[in-house]
């Protein structure tokens, strides 16, 4: 994984830097105009938030079952990424909504469930930091609930009446919007892999440090 880090860093940073130029050249959406350009990073950030919540939940479930520290490290790293991408979604969404809907926020199903999913990830990090011995298992149980929320977040726009665009938007994107969107989504996915790799390395180094301290005590 360490050998992959530098090429990943170069490619992800280059794509992330180039994405705004592609977005600038994309077609304007007919009803929303310029503000719709927020979509190119807002929606992929939402995808990454849901992806990291799933990774966190699966790793936590495996940790509860097998008790392998590697799964716990993956869950902790993914929880931080859920908070990061959730913050981006929750901060950029209202900027788009203010222009498109005339309001900063609406307590509809999609927005409320996304906010709850983000709060669950923050709760996980608080539990890991402050709950003391056994916080790894307590946090893992919380992460499984966080993962259970993901399908409801995704389907909420189809199940209930909301202001938020439906899930049919992305599959039906016209070619002039589709290309820049998937380019941005790939850039954000590579950024996600990069951050996950770096965060996992940190957690492994912490585990090695703990082992060194224990060896010294013995």
């Amino acid at each position: 994984m360490r050998r992959l880090f530098m090429p990943l860093l170069v490619v992800a940073t280059a794509m992330f830097a180039y994405a705004p130029y592609m977005i600038d050249g994309a077609a304007y959406e007919s009803s929303m105009g310029l503000v719709q350009k927020i979509f190119y990073f807002h929606a992929p950030s939402g995808m990454m938030m849901l992806l990291s919540a799933i990774v966190c939940g699966v790793a936590s479930a495996l940790y509860l079952w097998r008790r392998k520290p590697a799964m716990d490290h993956l869950a902790l790293a993914s929880a931080e990424l859920t908070v990061l991408y959730g913050l981006i979604v929750i901060a950029t969404g209202p900027l788009w909504a203010r222009k498109a809907w005339g309001i900063w926020w609406d307590w509809d199903a999609r927005l409320t469930m996304s906010f709850v999913g983000w709060l669950i990830a923050i709760s996980y990090l608080f539990v890991r930091k402050y709950a003391g011995p056994g916080s790894d298992k307590l946090g893992a149980a919380l992460a499984v609930f966080g993962m259970a929320n993901v399908p409801f977040i995704y389907l909420s726009v189809n199940l209930w009446r909301t202001l938020h665009p439906k899930t049919s938007v992305v599959p039906s994107l016209p070619p002039l919007i589709r290309g820049p969107f998937w380019f941005s989504a790939l850039a954000l996915f590579l950024m996600y892999l990069l951050l996950l790799t770096a965060r996992l390395h940190l957690e492994r180094q912490r585990a090695a440090l703990d082992a060194l301290y224990l060896a010294e005590e013995d």
Partner: protein, 82 residues
């Protein structure tokens, strides 16, 4: 029975008033669109938030990693001097 019917009618009326969620995006025909409110600052703010959040998180990982590696080196040095 009558109040229930009134409530259901009211709910149906409210549902009709609420705008429907957008099902697809349609590209604009060049030269037909005009902006009513300036969207530029909102778009710039959104992109600035994304960049700052990503770079800040990367910096926090780097800072935490430096601290752990400093502690590891200090511990190893202590072990060798014993």
């Amino acid at each position: 029975m009558l109040p229930m019917s009134l409530v259901s009618r009211l709910l149906m009326a409210l549902a009709l008033v609420q705008p429907a969620a957008q099902g697809e995006f349609v590209p604009v025909t060049p030269g037909t669109a005009t902006e009513q409110l300036p969207a530029g600052p909102l778009v710039i703010a959104a992109y600035a938030i994304i960049w700052v959040a990503m770079m800040f998180y990367l910096w926090t990982i780097w800072r935490r990693l430096n601290k752990v590696e400093t502690d590891m080196h200090a511990l190893e040095r202590r072990k060798h001097t014993k």
